[in-house]
Amino acid sequence: MIQVRDGTALDDSLVIRARGLKTYYPGPHKGAWPWSGRLTVKAVDDVSLDIRRGQTLGLVGESGCGKTTVGRSLLQLVRPTAGEVFFEGQDLCKLKDAELHPLRRRMQIIFQDPYASLDSRCTIGFTISEGLLIHKLVPPAELRDRVADLMVTVGLNPAFENRYPHEFSGGQRQRVGIARALATSPTFIVGDEPISALDVSIQAQIINLLRTLRDKLNLTMLFISHDLRAVRYLSDQVAVMYLGKVAEMASTDELFANPLHPYTQALLGSVPKPSWSGVEIEAPALSGDVPSPINPPRGCYFSTRCPRVMPRCGEAQPALVEASPGHKVACFLISAAANPV
């Protein structure tokens, strides 16, 4: 058992535990000169989350809300500015790159764009085997068999191992990306919008594949998507992000049945409904766009677009508190608790 800063013990069923995760990027220059100071983009601003073994956490939000940065920060593909990420008992943020290297095989990522994320000059057989070679996981004689196994696992014909990415369709390339992620037998996988670049009928195939693999291999997943419908099919827990912060977090069934945050409600209300379903097509719940994380609004970040905004929302920032067991929400409509300034 390891003690985490807030005093709670880390039990073995927790694969990922992030506390106070902050990832800031240098933004544009404040002035016109190259030596003028830079603004800060707070891509991820104080995010805490837990993922238990074999569970999938869905992370939803609009573009620019920091969901991809959360995924990359957990894997230390970008180094967080502050906070702790516990993976298999170690705080990854404190490890040096060389110390991190052996852990990398236990945590992998599936990228969004199956066209950009595969090296067009490598055969897919090489792409899938590279991780195995780097971590010296398989004797050279068995390498081809292992690659063939992986290709079968993700539904590719092993005879294609010497083909190049351009010879495949988007869905098949995404299967290559999944095989590459699975090659090193990881325990934790980040799926960064793995289906959003695919056609509808192929999306269903990949969702089914991810579900089967997760159950078969007992994978722990962070599933990042802007599509609430996709998240619903794949996740046990869902976190809704807005401008670098978690607005609401609950089990999937609870969140979809009983959304508490006005932003979650607006996201759900924005999903198209058939005109004959009898549901009145409501006016857009939200106007405008997501504000810039360089210059976020004062108080609650959502206050500029919120349909139920109150005077207090412009002054203080609501804290993420438990509204009912396991259902956390950051909104003054639910709780008066505010973040310390």
């Binding site: 089914n208 419908r229 924005s270 198209p272 058939p274 106007s287």
Partner: protein, 341 residues
């Protein structure tokens, strides 16, 4: 008798008064010669759009839906060519017009909203000028009047602070605002037919909701016909009065959206609908996924293009391609086996 009459060009008002279709497409075929063979991107498409009607063209990538829209603008890129059929736009057969005559129609008669507003807008020209330009060219407005009208259009499509925004460049706009600029450009000359090619695919759901509402409002105020191209059956169900489902360059099913989506007669439509992600229903079951991949459009098999993926295919389907035939009061389907066994 009809052949002897000259092809008249009734004005826009006549069209709507007599309820003539704004576009009447018959047996359209578009082919692209390539090194590997001839690609038939569109084969035998027939469709009509009445004023004030939103017709959805839905299908997966490569099914010919964007090619259809481009051919309605006569903007098929080289070396592609319209090899057969006719397109009667607002009373004129546009395939018989000279380039100069066609250019005069783009804007006042037909206008297009492209999917990717960032690449469709000119980055070196203030956005306001891009709206004022067609007004000066087509409507003969003086510069000052065009500017005033452009600012008015900005307001109509919901761009806040239009005076200031007029002089800004496209990179200074967010995705949703850029799409509004595109819509304002398309609307500037009050087109009879609006072609919307995946206008919301790159947008977040809350912004998608705003844009869909805008398109609905514009349809009502201008009484224009709209062709809405998308791969998202959810959007079609909410927005479109009629739908045409496309597969491998052909229309496979057409009819009123509610009829087609509640009683699909083509196995592809049925498959597409049941593989669609939903917000309700049992999420523990695996999704239905259409097996296999869409065919290459080079050397399509002689029979039905969907036969290799079709659960109902029998040997007859491989011999000849089915043509659209009535399957309901206003519904039609291109399938040999839609009646079942």
């Amino acid at each position: 008798m009809m052949e002897l009459l000259p092809r008249r060009a009734p004005s826009g008002e006549e069209c709507s008064a007599r309820l003539l279709p704004v576009i009447d497409v018959r047996n359209l075929q578009v082919r692209f010669p390539t090194r590997d063979g001839v690609v038939t991107a569109l084969d035998g498409l027939s469709m009509q759009v009445m004023p004030g009607e939103i017709v959805g063209l839905v299908g997966e990538s490569g099914c010919g839906k964007s090619t259809a829209a481009l051919s309605f603008m006569r903007l098929i890129p080289q070396p592609g060519r319209i090899t057969a059929g006719e397109i009667v736009l607002d009373g004129q057969d546009i395939l018989k017009l000279s380039d100069r005559e066609m250019r005069a129609l783009r804007g006042p008669s037909v206008a297009m909203i492209f999917q990717d507003a960032l690449t469709a807008l000119d980055p070196t020209m203030p956005v306001g000028k891009q709206i004022a330009e067609p007004l000066q060219l087509h409507k003969g407005l003086a510069a000052a009047a065009a500017r005033a009208r452009a600012i008015e259009l900005f307001g109509q499509v919901g761009i806040p602070d239009p005076e200031r925004r007029f002089g800004q460049y496209s990179h200074q706009f967010s995705g949703g605002m850029r799409q509004r600029v595109m819509i304002a450009v398309a609307l500037s000359c009050g087109p009879r037919l609006l072609l919307a090619d995946e206008p919301t695919t790159a947008l977040d759901v809350t912004v998608q909701r705003q844009i869909l509402r805008l398109i609905r409002q514009l349809r009502d105020t201008l009484n224009a016909g709209v062709v809405f191209i998308t791969h998202d059956v959810g959007v079609v169900a909410e927005l479109c009065t009629r739908v045409i489902v496309m597969y491998a360059g052909r229309a496979v099913e057409a009819g009123p959206t509610q009829a087609v989506f509640t009683h699909p007669t083509h196995p592809y439509t049925a498959g597409l609908l049941s593989s669609t992600l939903e917000l309700t229903g049992d999420r523990s079951l695996p999704l239905y996924a259409i097996p296999g991949l869409p065919p290459e459009l080079i050397d399509l098999p002689a029979g039905c293009a969907f036969a290799p993926r079709c659960p109902r295919a029998d040997p007859e389907c491989w011999n000849a391609a089915p043509i659209l035939e009535p399957s309901g009061p206003q519904q039609s389907v291109a399938c040999w086996r839609w009646k079942g066994d």
